[in-house]
Structure formats: C-alpha cells, structure tokens
C-alpha cells in the first residue's frame, strides 16, 4: 500500500504539472457535451417548425387533386409552392430546379387524376355490388382493370433518405385516405344511404408510453440520450493520454530504473489505474453537473438524476475501468507516441461507432449488431440507458457491469503478462 500510495502521488503530480493537458482532459468533454446537446436540442426543437418547400405541378383539373393539395397544405412540415415569381411551375421548370438543387422536392399530379380515381372506384364498387346484391340493377362498368396512375415525386439527390420516406409516406397515406373516401361516397350514392359515420369515427388511436423496469413512466429527453453517449466517448478518450503516459515513461530513462526496482509491474500499473480512474470519475461528475445545473440556465432541458446517482456512478466507474484497461494495453504494446496516439484515437471512434453511440444498434446490419454486442461501449451505453431511461436497479445492471469488468481484467492481464515477458530474467 505504501508503494502504491507514493506511485499514485507521483502520477497525480505529473498530471498536475501538465496544466494544458490537465485542462484538456477535463474541459474538452464538458465543451463536447454542451455543444452536441445544444445542436441536437436545437435541431429537435426546430424540426417541428421547419417547413420543407415542396414544388407542386397539378396537371389535373378535378376535385380529388384539389383535395390532395388542400391536405398537403394543412401539413405543418410542408410548404406547397405552385408558382415562383408569379410564374406557374411546369413539369420541365420544376425538374430543372430539382436538378440544380435549388429546390428539394417536386410533386407532379398527372392529368385526369381525379377522373381516374373516381372511375376506378366506380368500377370496384359496381363489381362488389353486383356480387353482393345479384338482383340489383347496377349502372356503369363492372369490369375491373389493372390500370394505375403515376404521381411523380422528384427529389434532390442531396436530400436525406428519412425526409424522402416521410414525404412519400405522407402522400401515400393521403391518397389512400382519399381513395377510401371516394369508395364510401360511391357506396352512399349507390345505396342512397348515409355512411358518413364510417369516415368520421377513428377506430384506432395511438398513444406513446415509455416502459421502465420499475413501471415509472418517463418521458426521455435529448439530454438523457446524449449524456450517456458523450460521457462514454469522453471516458474512453482517456485511452489516449494514458497510453501516451505509458509510452513516454517507457522511452524515458526512468523506465530502466523502474524495471530494477523491487516493485512489480502490476503495482506501478495499479497506480496509473487509480489516478486515471479518478480522472474518469471527475470527468463524469463534471458532465453530470453541467447537465443538471448548467443546461437549464442556457435553455437546455436539465437532466433528472433523482434516485439514479448511485446507478450512474457505478456504470461510470465500470466504464472507466474498461477504458483504462484498453489504454494500458495500448500503452504497453505501443513503442512510440506515434503508434499510441493515432491507434488509441481511431480505435475509440470505431468502438463508439460499433457500440451504438452514434447510430442505434438495431438500425445496423445483422453482422454489425453481433459485433456491437461485444463492444464495451455498447455494454456501458446500455448500462447508462438502463439507469436513466429504464430506472433499472443494480441487479439489472449486473450483466453489463460484469462484462465491463471482465474486459478490464482481460486487458490488464494481457498487459501484465506482456510486461513480465519482456522483463523476464
């Protein structure tokens, strides 16, 4: 213990003497979480207000296309534009604007769109009526045909696939609703009955619930999603200063003396583990304090940590251990600063990507989902989400914590074994 105490003291002093490095270690994660949360929160808030300009060319003269346009105009996220500078948009001018990237979306409603829908509806209804009421005298054509009418949607290639899906989905759902309405109206006409109740009453409604382990309903905020991801990112970035610290010591004369001291590699390593774990925890609490106290002051949603502080601390502690284990391993194997720094940085970014810090794991290809399951950042992220969003207790956290601890032990064991091998007499 005596030797470890003095080795810890030495590491703390070395860290304190590098003021710039010290500031970077603690300030950068704070700057990171403020910046990311601020941007993400702004995007989320603004997404409700942002209106996507959509060019519309209506070549139909019927009522149904007018209804389509009316419905599109009621959509708060879309702004319908039919003319620019007093000139009506044509098929060609619209396509030209999309091709240049000046405009993002163009919808072209084909000629005789309304007549086509009405005719097709009549055909389907008449056919159905003649089947259900054989004696009934039905007017009009009963022969169904497979003709379709094409509503063209042109997109700027630079537009994101999610916006494309949203626009396509909104139009498809709207047209489908109009088709249903047309069918009901045809039935009403044929049967001479009032069927308006069928369209006025919604049979299914949707309501969003958040499910937690303790059955406490929590509405997740951007901060609750952001804090774990960026905290983990910052914690794992400890890999870089730690591995550089180890490499630097190896390349100094002190390494020769350290190897001749009556103290094991593990004891010396332990002092680094203790100090850097302390750094990780300070980073974590700083980010937590920023999320709880600073965010509401700068207009961001505050993080609610009531009843979750112990759980969050435990997850941060085990995440720190996993990160330190990885850093020690890199520092042990790397021979130069040039090897340790880029490898450390790149591997942390890769681990973050496959761990689901930037993109949800469920959205990844199956192989990547399998890889994500063996990523320490994923275990840690799930641990944080368990505490923050699912109100999980320590027992529920145990599997992920155990995985993080195992990762730490494996890394340290390999590092100690390697050190022992190269120092073996």
């Amino acid at each position: 213990m005596y030797k470890i105490f003095h080795a810890v003291l030495k590491e703390l002093r070395l860290l304190r003497r590098d003021l710039l490095g010290f500031a970077i270690i603690f300030l950068m994660p704070v700057v990171l979480i403020i910046t990311i949360t601020f941007i993400q929160n702004s995007v989320e808030n603004n997404s409700a207000r942002i209106q996507l300009p959509v060019l519309l060319v209506n070549l139909d003269e019927g009522d149904l296309s007018k209804k389509v346009i009316e419905n599109l105009e009621t959509n708060n996220n879309i702004k319908i534009i039919s003319e620019i500078d007093g000139e009506a948009i044509t098929e060609n001018s619209g396509r030209g604007l999309i091709a240049k990237g000046t405009q993002k979306v163009l919808i072209i409603i084909p000629p005789e769109f309304s007549d086509f829908i009405q005719n097709q509806t009549d055909i389907h209804v008449n056919r159905l009526m003649s089947t259900v009421v054989p004696d009934m005298e039905v007017e009009g054509d009963t022969e169904s045909n497979t003709l379709t009418k094409e509503v063209q949607i042109h997109f700027d290639p630079a537009i994101s696939s999610s916006i494309k899906s949203n626009i396509k989905g909104a139009i498809e759902s709207m047209i489908s609703e109009l088709e249903s309405k047309a069918i009901y109206e045809t039935f009403e006409r044929e049967l001479d009955a009032d069927l308006s109740f069928l369209t006025e009453q919604k049979l299914v409604v949707f309501k969003e619930y958040s499910v937690s382990v303790n059955e406490i309903d929590i509405a997740p905020t951007a901060v609750q999603h952001n804090l774990p991801a960026w905290t983990l990112f910052a914690i794992f970035f400890i890999v870089i200063p730690l591995s550089i610290n180890i490499v630097k010591e190896k390349n100094q004369g002190t390494y020769v003396r350290l190897k001749t001291l009556p103290v094991s590699s593990f004891h010396l390593m332990l002092s680094k583990i203790i100090v850097y774990l302390l750094v990780c925890m300070i980073q974590f609490y700083l980010m937590l304090m920023v999320s709880v106290f600073l965010f509401p002051i700068i207009g961001l949603p505050a993080l609610d940590v009531e009843g979750k502080l112990i759980g969050l601390t435990v997850v941060a502690l085990f995440s720190g251990l996993a990160a330190i284990g990885f850093g020690v391993l890199i520092g042990t194997f790397a021979k130069t600063h040039e090897q340790a720094a880029p490898f450390g940085a790149t591997s942390v970014v890769i681990l973050a990507a496959i761990g689901g810090l930037w993109f949800p794991v469920f959205a990844m290809p199956e192989t990547m989902q399998m890889i994500a399951k063996v990523s320490p950042m994923n275990w840690a992220l799930e641990g944080f989400y368990d505490v923050l969003l699912r109100s999980a207790g320590l027992i529920s956290l145990a599997p992920n914590l155990l995985l993080l601890l195992t990762f730490f032990i494996i890394n340290i064991t390999i590092a100690v074994a390697y050190e022992k091998k190269i120092n073996q007499l």
Binding site: H6, R17, Q252, G253, V256, T260
Partner: protein, 250 residues
C-alpha cells in the same frame, strides 16, 4: 573478504545475430570493492551491467549477488542493489525532492527515514537550494547528482553505475566521486563502468578491461598498472589490451 558478486560462464547473444555480446565471462567482485568496468564502445559493458541488474536474461551462465542467484531470486536481489543508469532516470516535471521521495519509497524506505536521507543526500550533493525545483530546470551536472542519489537512498549493498560522471563539470564530478567514496567507506560494493580512465585509475580498487564480451585483463588496480616491469597509466594498459580493435567501434 566474502564475495559480493560472482559471474560464472556468462554468455549473451542478442536474438537475430551471431555476435556474442558477452562470451563465457567469469568474474568475482569482493565485498567493499570498487570495480571499474572499462572497455571501448560495444565491448559489452552495458550488456554485462544489464544482466547484473536483472534487465536482460543471459543465454548461459549464472550471476550470484550477495549469495542470491539472479535467475532464482531477482526480487530479493533488487532490494539489495542500487542502479544508476547512464541516462537521467528521473521525471523532468517533478522536483528533485519529489523524484527522490518517489524512488526511495519504491525501494520500501519509509518516512521519517526517507525524508531524512533525501534531505541529507541533497545537502551532501550541494543542491539544498534547488531541492524544490523541477528537474527540467537543472543542469546536466545537477541531474547526474540527483540521478546518483535516486539509486542509493535504500542503502544498497551493491551499486551499479553506468558512466555516472559522463558529460559533467569538474565540480559535479568531484561531488559524485566523493559521495561514492563515502558509500564505499561503509562497505558498499561499487561496480562502475566508464570511459574516463584517469578517474577510474584513482577511484577504483579493482579494474576489469572488457572487449568483445571477454575480460582482457582484470585485477587490483595497482597490480594491473604494473606491466613489463614498470608502472604504466591505465590508458596505456587499456590501449594495449583493446587498442588495435578500438577503431572498429568508432
């Protein structure tokens, strides 16, 4: 007088080469002796010290230090030896005192003894005014003095010094040699490698000239200096034993 260090049939060949850095070397150093390990560059001095201090494993032979065999009890030996490497083995961002407190504590020396030894050592080295200054503000000579202190705070029975006075001013050299003489005066065995033959001639009670990993000549300094019926300088003896080959290592 009992033996402090016994080297028996020691050989070392670095992997990937046929060159033998140490070739079947035998040497005995008695307790309280100051052995000067001399030789041209690449002769095998640093390799030998690395083996003796447990940094490198030899291919053949054995080393016994204070009755303990290095291959069997290196942990026990590390408590008995002090190592002063040629490089400044100190943390540049720590003060002289902080460096010494750290290395002393790693040898298991506890307070208040450690604190007392650090303060006394710094005073003996004439650096009391600088004890709380960072090492990166020290001159080469000042660093050498602290480098020496860091290896002897636990009062080792055997000290290994690799070029302890290389590149330092006369004042620092004198302080270092005086301090080493003082340690030797209380029975500490000193094994010292150097290129400074004049210094070795006056400081060492015994010398061993090594070349091509083999001891060329070895014995009490005064006996080694007598050759062909007359007293020669250590430089003459050195050149006679290594001179023709020395150019190969330049």
């Amino acid at each position: 007088m009992t033996n402090s260090v016994e080297i028996k049939n020691l050989s070392l060949k670095y992997s990937g080469t046929d060159f033998k850095a140490i070739d079947n070397l035998n040497l005995t150093i008695r307790k309280g002796e100051v052995l000067g390990l001399l030789g041209p560059n690449g002769a095998g001095k640093t390799s030998l010290i690395s083996i003796l201090t447990g940094l490198i494993k030899p291919n053949e032979g054995k080393v016994i230090i204070e009755g303990l065999e290095t291959s069997k009890n290196i942990e026990g030996i590390r408590k008995l030896i002090g190592v002063v490497p040629q490089e400044y083995a100190l943390y540049p961002k720590l003060t002289a005192k902080e460096n010494l407190m750290f290395f002393g504590s790693m040898y298991g020396v506890r307070n208040p003894v450690l604190k007392q030894r650090v303060e006394e050592g710094i005073e003996q080295m004439g650096l009391s005014k600088f004890s709380n200054k960072r090492m990166d503000t020290f001159s080469g000579g000042m660093k050498r003095r602290i480098n020496l202190l860091a290896g002897v705070l636990h009062r080792p029975q055997v000290i290994f010094l690799d070029e302890p006075t290389v590149g330092v001013d006369v004042q620092s050299k004198r302080v270092i040699i005086e301090y080493l003489n003082q340690l030797n005066g209380v029975g500490t065995t000193i094994i010292y490698s150097s290129h400074l033959l004049h210094e070795a001639q006056t400081f060492c009670s015994r010398v061993a000239i090594i070349d091509h990993g083999v001891i060329q000549i070895e014995g009490p300094t005064q006996e080694v200096l007598i050759s062909e019926g007359r007293v020669k300088s250590l430089e003459e003896i050195f050149l006679e034993n290594t001179g023709k080959k020395a150019k190969e290592y330049v």
